[in-house]
Symmetry: C2
Subunit: 210 residues, 2 copies
DNA sequence: GTTTTTATTTATCATCTGATAAACTAATTC
DNA sequence: GAATTAGTTTATCAGATGATAAATAAAAAC
């Protein structure tokens, strides 16, 4: 963009650091973490050594990119809303997935997430733990109630129940993979897809009981 | 493994090429395509220049890895079996996904697939086209029949119908992503997961009509 | 307006990495 | 068994790449 426009030369350290960080998120999301510092600098319209004024190593910049991409993505409020039985489970799940997708099914996030997973960065594992604990297990509990099955304190949520919900969760996540990683043409009406996926899961799970 | 065992020195060109290719599949599946030729050679127990006796460039080796990973993975017979209405749709889908997963939900395949998709290799796009055409569209057609909806020649399969099936398909694929990319603990009883996902999709889709 | 400070650039290093050429050696040929 | 062929290794190159130090220039201080 502003590769040669000397518009914003000599920024304050805070602004420059922020600009580099934002540029690095976009850059590494596109190229992966083997992307080169010179190319990143070029894209930012600065020289490569300037990166090292703000980040001691390439690795340290990548770590900051992780932080930037991951913080404040899971709103604890959502878990609470998921278990609020004053609303229908269908409604709750649709609301949740619309919020959740808006926060995480973004180009940079999805791509950095997949790159980091392939590189076995610890953040992926940590995030998976959070998802299972704060989202999928609550959904399993609500689904038990919805289907008239025993409560959690009678028998804990099994791996197969979790994996069953993972299929819906993963199916919706996969929509974002198709869009941002495969770059396929996908339907833009994600709300409709969520609504259908949720209805299908709820009705299908109930039907499977009988 | 046999990094220093001079057991299989001086192989025939065919054997050596095959050995390098197999090693390269494993290596690039693990490290991604920015993995280095020296490390690959070390893992193979040969010297790095020997690679260039069999493959003129690193890129050409990677191309061969793609070919190796992708050929003969989709059996055309499966598409035929999917539309054989002498069996229940549930049975057909379960059989298909068990065959399909056995062929493609393998560690090397899944990881190379995702690396190549992130790198925007054309193979991914090509493969997606095949899946939509030979698998998902047939399933949509069968699902129409199952739900008592109009035939394809009345109204063509819409993007939203395709995306709906993509959720199930992606959900099952995501199981393999969790296993081989996230390396999470997942249920090994994949047949059970397939059976549940298929039942849920079928019953859910039917219920959504009423 | 001169001096001081500091953000940024230019020049450069050391190592890595894909690739090549020559040397070596284990088979094969005669 | 000597000569030839061919698979493999050693030595090495050229460009790429992360990182550093010195030079430059824009802003701040006085």
């Amino acid at each position: 963009m502003n590769a040669k426009t000397n518009t914003n030369r000599r920024l304050s350290p805070e602004d420059r650091e922020q600009q580099i960080l934002e540029g690095a998120v976009k850059f590494f999301a596109e190229k992966g973490f083997s992307g080169q510092t010179r190319e990143l600098a070029l894209q930012l319209g600065i020289t490569q050594p300037l990166l090292y004024r703000y980040f001691p190593t390439k690795r340290s910049l990548i770590e900051r990119v992780f932080e930037e991409a991951y913080i404040n993505k899971l709103d604890p409020e959502w878990s609470v809303a998921l278990t609020d039985r004053s609303q229908s489970l269908h409604k709750r799940l649709c609301t949740f997935y619309c919020n959740y997708s808006e926060a995480t099914y973004r180009n940079e996030w999805i791509r950095i997430y997949m790159f980091s997973a392939l590189m076995e960065e610890p953040l992926n594992r940590h995030y998976i733990g959070l998802v299972e604990e704060q989202i999928l297990t609550p959904i399993c509990i609500e689904l038990r109630d919805y289907c008239g099955l025993p409560k959690v304190d009678i028998s804990p949520i099994s791996q197969i129940e979790l994996d069953h919900i993972w299929v819906m969760h993963g199916g919706l996540f996969y929509h974002a993979i198709r869009k941002h990683i495969y770059r396929s043409r996908v339907s833009n009406d994600f709300e409709e897809i969520v609504s259908r996926a949720v209805s299908t899961m709820l009705e299908g799970s109930k039907a499977a009981q009988s």
